[in-house]
C-alpha cells in the first residue's frame, strides 16, 4: 500500500533579521506520509519550533516550498491559510489555550462550528465522542479553569481532533506535564495514529516521548542532521541518545 504525502517541504530557508541577519533554517527538505508518527527533536534554539510554525502555515515569512495534502502553499491569502489550518491541521501546544469564556464542550466545538461541515448538533455529538475517547466526557460542561493540567491538555487534544485533521501538530505537548500525564498523552496520540490513520508531527525535547514515536527527525543549527526510523526495532533494545 502506497501512502500519500500529507506534508512535504522543499528547501525551506528562514532568516531572522533582528538584531542581525541570522539563518534559522537552511534547506529543510523532508516529507511526512499519512499515518506516520513523527517527532522532531533537537537542542533548544536549533529551529525545530520555527520549522513547526512554518509547517503550520502560521508563519509565512520563509523561502522554499511547502505542500500540505499535495497543495502548494505559497502566496495564499490569510483567509485561505486560515481555512487550511481549520480543515487539515490540529494543534496541541505546551499551553492548553482553552477559552475560559466557554465550557469544555464548547471549546472543543468552536473549530468545528467554524468549519461548518456538519450541523451544530452533529458537531456537538462528535465533540462529545472525542471527549469520551479521552475520558473527559464527564467534565464536558465544566469551565476549563476547573480542570487539572493533564485534563486541560486532553481537552486541547480533543479540540485539535474535532475536524478530523490530516495532521496533528504538537509543540512540546507534554512540556508542562508530569510523567504520568505525558504517558497518557503519548498513548492518546499513538491510538489516533493506529486507529484513525491520522498523522502526528510532534516537536519535543522529551527523549522518552520521542523514542516511542515511529520516526525521529533530529535537528541542529537549522539543519536536519539525522532521521531515525524506530519502527523496525521497536521490540529490540535501543541505544539512541538524543
Amino acid at each position: 500500500m502506497t501512502l500519500r504525502n500529507v506534508l512535504e517541504t522543499k528547501k525551506i530557508n528562514k532568516y531572522f533579521f533582528d538584531p542581525v541577519k541570522f539563518q534559522v533554517l537552511s534547506d529543510i527538505t523532508f516529507s511526512v506520509k499519512q499515518g506516520e508518527f513523527v517527532s522532531v527533536v533537537g537542542k533548544s534554539g536549533c529551529g525545530k519550533s520555527t520549522l513547526l510554525y512554518i509547517l503550520s502555515t502560521m508563519d509565512t515569512d520563509f523561502e522554499g516550498e511547502l505542500f500540505i495534502n499535495g497543495e502548494p502553499l505559497t502566496n495564499n491569502s490569510d483567509k485561505d491559510l486560515a481555512r487550511i489550518r481549520n480543515e487539515y491541521i490540529g494543534f496541541v501546544f505546551q499551553f492548553h489555550y482553552l477559552l475560559n469564556e466557554y465550557n469544555v464542550l464548547k471549546n472543543v466545538m468552536i473549530p468545528g462550528i467554524k468549519l461548518a461541515k456538519y450541523s451544530y448538533e452533529e458537531i456537538e455529538h462528535r465533540a462529545m465522542e472525542h471527549l469520551r475517547t479521552l475520558d473527559m466526557h464527564s467534565q464536558a460542561l465544566k469551565s476549563p479553569n476547573q480542570l487539572s493540567g493533564g485534563q486541560k491538555q486532553r481537552v486541547a487534544i480533543a479540540r485539535a481532533l474535532i475536524n478530523d485533521p490530516l495532521i496533528v501538530m504538537g509543540d512540546e505537548p507534554t512540556g508542562n506535564l508530569d510523567k504520568k500525564n505525558s504517558d497518557m498523552v503519548f498513548d492518546i496520540f499513538n491510538a489516533i495514529v493506529q486507529e484513525k490513520k491520522q498523522t502526528m508531527l510532534i516537536v519535543t525535547h522529551d527523549a522518552d516521548f520521542a523514542q516511542r514515536t515511529h520516526r525521529i527527525i533530529e535537528m541542529a543549527d537549522g539543519k536536519i542532521i539525522s532521521e531515525t526510523n524506530t519502527l523496525h526495532r521497536r521490540s529490540a533494545p535501543t541505544d539512541i541518545t538524543t
Partner: protein, 419 residues
C-alpha cells in the same frame, strides 16, 4: 464567514468583562440621551420662537410704500443724460397707502396654486383716548375668517372671542398693555381719534396678548368694515394683502413675481425675519455639537475597553487564529463587540432621552410674555432618534475599528512561542 459564531464569541467576551462593557455602554447611553434631550428641547424652543414671529408674519406681504417718484424732471431732459443728476424736486405723491385694484389682485392671487389663502388688511395709526390723554396705537382691520385661517389670531386672544369682531359692528379687540393703561375691560366702550380728527366710539369684545410688550401696548384689531368706517374710506379700501404659501421657501420668488406683475411693493418672510433664522440655526448647531462631543467621549470609552480586552485576550486571539480564524474574522469579532456595546447603549440612550424629554415637557414654564405656553416646549421628532442611533453606530464602529485592526494583525506565533 460564520456570523453567528463570531457574534457568539463577541457576546461571550462581553460577558467575561461585563462590568467594563456596561460602563462603556453607559457612556454611549449618556451621550445619546443627552443628545436627544438637547436637540428635542432646543428645537422645541426654536419652533416656539419661530412661531412667535414667523407664524404671525405673512409669507409675502403686499403694500404701497411711500417713495419719491423715480422719474425726476432732470432725468427727462436730453441735455443731462450723461450727467450725475442729484436734483430731485418732485416729492412723494400722496396716493395714500391704499392698494389700487385690490379686489382683482386678490381674485388673481386666490387662483394661484402655490397660495394657501389671502388675507386683506387695513392698518391705520390712531389715538386711543383715555381721559385727557391720547395714546398712540394702530388699528388692524382684518378679515376675521381669513386672518384666523392664516395666523390663528384666536390663540393670542386671552379674553373674549375674535369672531365677535365680524358679527357685532363697531367692536374692537385691544392689546393687553393698552387695556391695562386705559383701565378698560370687555364690554367697555373706548374712543378713538383718527389722524384726520374723526372721533369714533368702539366697544371692546376682547383682549389680545402676543407676548411682545411693544406690540401689546399699541395693537388693536377690528373688522375690515369697522376700520374702513373709522378712516372714512369706501368698502374697497385695503392697505395690505397678506399671502401664505404652501411652502415658505417659495416666498422670495413669489414676492419678486408679484412686485413686477402688480407693480406693488412686496416683501417676503425671509427678508422680513432674517435675524430669527440665524438664531435658530446657531441654536441647532450648538445642540448638535454638544451631542457629538458627548458621543466622541463615549467612543473613547469603547476604544479603551476594547484595547484592554485585546491585551487580556491575546491568548484567545492566538488560538482562534491557530484553529482556523482568519485576520478578518478576528477583526469582525471585535467590531461586532464594539457594535453590540454601541447599539445596546444607544437604544437605552434613546429610551432615557425620551424619558428626559417627557420630564422636560411637563416642567411648568409660565411667562407673562408667552400666554399660550404652560410647560417647556419639546419637539418630538422621529428624525432625532434616527440621527441619535446612527451617531451611536457610527462612533462605536470607528472606536472599534482601530483596536479590531490591531487584533487582526496579532501574530499567533509570537504569542504561542512566547509562552
Amino acid at each position: 464567514m460564520n456570523i453567528s459564531l463570531i457574534l457568539n464569541i463577541a457576546l461571550n467576551l462581553i460577558r467575561a468583562r461585563m462590568k467594563q462593557s456596561a460602563i462603556a455602554a453607559i457612556g454611549v447611553t449618556f451621550g445619546i440621551a443627552m443628545f436627544i434631550a438637547l436637540v428635542s428641547f432646543m428645537n422645541g424652543l426654536n419652533n416656539l420662537l419661530d412661531g412667535l414671529m414667523l407664524n404671525r408674519t405673512p409669507h409675502v406681504r403686499m403694500y404701497n410704500e411711500i417713495k419719491p417718484s423715480a422719474q425726476q424732471p432732470i432725468t427727462l431732459s436730453d441735455n443731462y443724460t450723461k450727467s450725475n443728476n442729484f436734483i430731485s424736486s418732485i416729492k412723494p405723491k400722496d396716493r395714500g397707502k391704499e392698494i389700487y385694484n385690490s379686489k382683482s389682485i386678490i381674485a388673481v392671487l386666490k387662483k394661484d396654486p402655490r397660495i394657501v389663502d389671502v388675507a386683506p388688511k387695513v392698518t391705520a395709526p390712531v389715538f386711543f383716548n383715555s381721559g385727557t390723554i391720547e395714546i398712540t396705537g394702530v388699528v388692524n382691520g382684518i378679515d376675521v375668517p381669513a386672518e384666523e385661517h392664516l395666523f390663528s389670531v384666536s390663540s393670542y386672544i386671552i379674553d373674549g372671542n375674535v369672531f365677535d369682531l365680524a358679527s357685532v359692528p363697531n367692536t374692537i379687540i385691544i392689546g393687553k398693555g393698552l387695556s391695562e393703561k386705559m383701565l378698560v375691560k370687555i364690554g367697555d366702550v373706548i374712543q378713538i381719534t383718527t389722524l384726520r380728527g374723526g372721533l369714533v366710539s368702539l366697544k371692546i369684545v376682547g383682549i389680545s396678548q402676543i407676548g411682545i410688550a411693544e406690540v401689546d401696548n399699541t395693537m388693536s384689531y377690528t373688522s375690515l368694515e369697522t376700520a374702513q368706517m373709522i378712516l372714512g374710506e369706501s368698502a374697497g379700501y385695503i392697505t395690505d394683502i397678506q399671502v401664505k404659501l404652501t411652502n415658505v421657501a417659495l416666498a422670495p420668488a413669489a414676492a419678486k413675481e408679484y412686485r413686477s406683475r402688480f407693480s406693488i411693493d412686496a416683501i417676503d418672510a425671509q427678508t422680513a425675519n432674517s435675524q430669527f433664522e440665524t438664531g435658530s440655526k446657531v441654536r441647532s448647531i450648538i445642540s448638535y455639537a454638544v451631542g457629538i462631543t458627548l458621543l466622541i467621549v463615549a467612543g473613547f470609552g469603547i476604544y479603551n475597553i476594547l484595547n484592554m480586552m485585546i491585551y487580556e485576550k491575546m491568548d484567545s486571539i492566538a488560538i482562534l487564529k491557530a484553529t482556523g480564524f482568519s485576520g478578518s474574522d478576528v477583526k469582525w469579532i471585535f467590531i461586532s463587540l464594539s457594535l453590540i456595546i454601541g447599539i445596546t447603549g444607544g437604544l437605552f440612550g434613546l429610551l432615557v432621552g425620551f424619558i428626559l424629554t417627557k420630564i422636560i415637557g411637563v416642567i411648568p414654564f409660565e411667562t407673562a410674555s408667552l400666554p399660550t405656553i404652560k410647560t417647556y416646549p419639546v419637539d418630538y421628532k422621529l428624525a432625532y432618534y434616527l440621527i441619535g442611533i446612527s451617531f451611536a453606530v457610527f462612533t462605536t464602529t470607528i472606536a472599534g475599528l482601530l483596536p479590531a485592526r490591531k487584533a487582526s494583525r496579532i501574530d499567533p506565533v509570537e504569542i504561542i512561542r512566547g509562552k
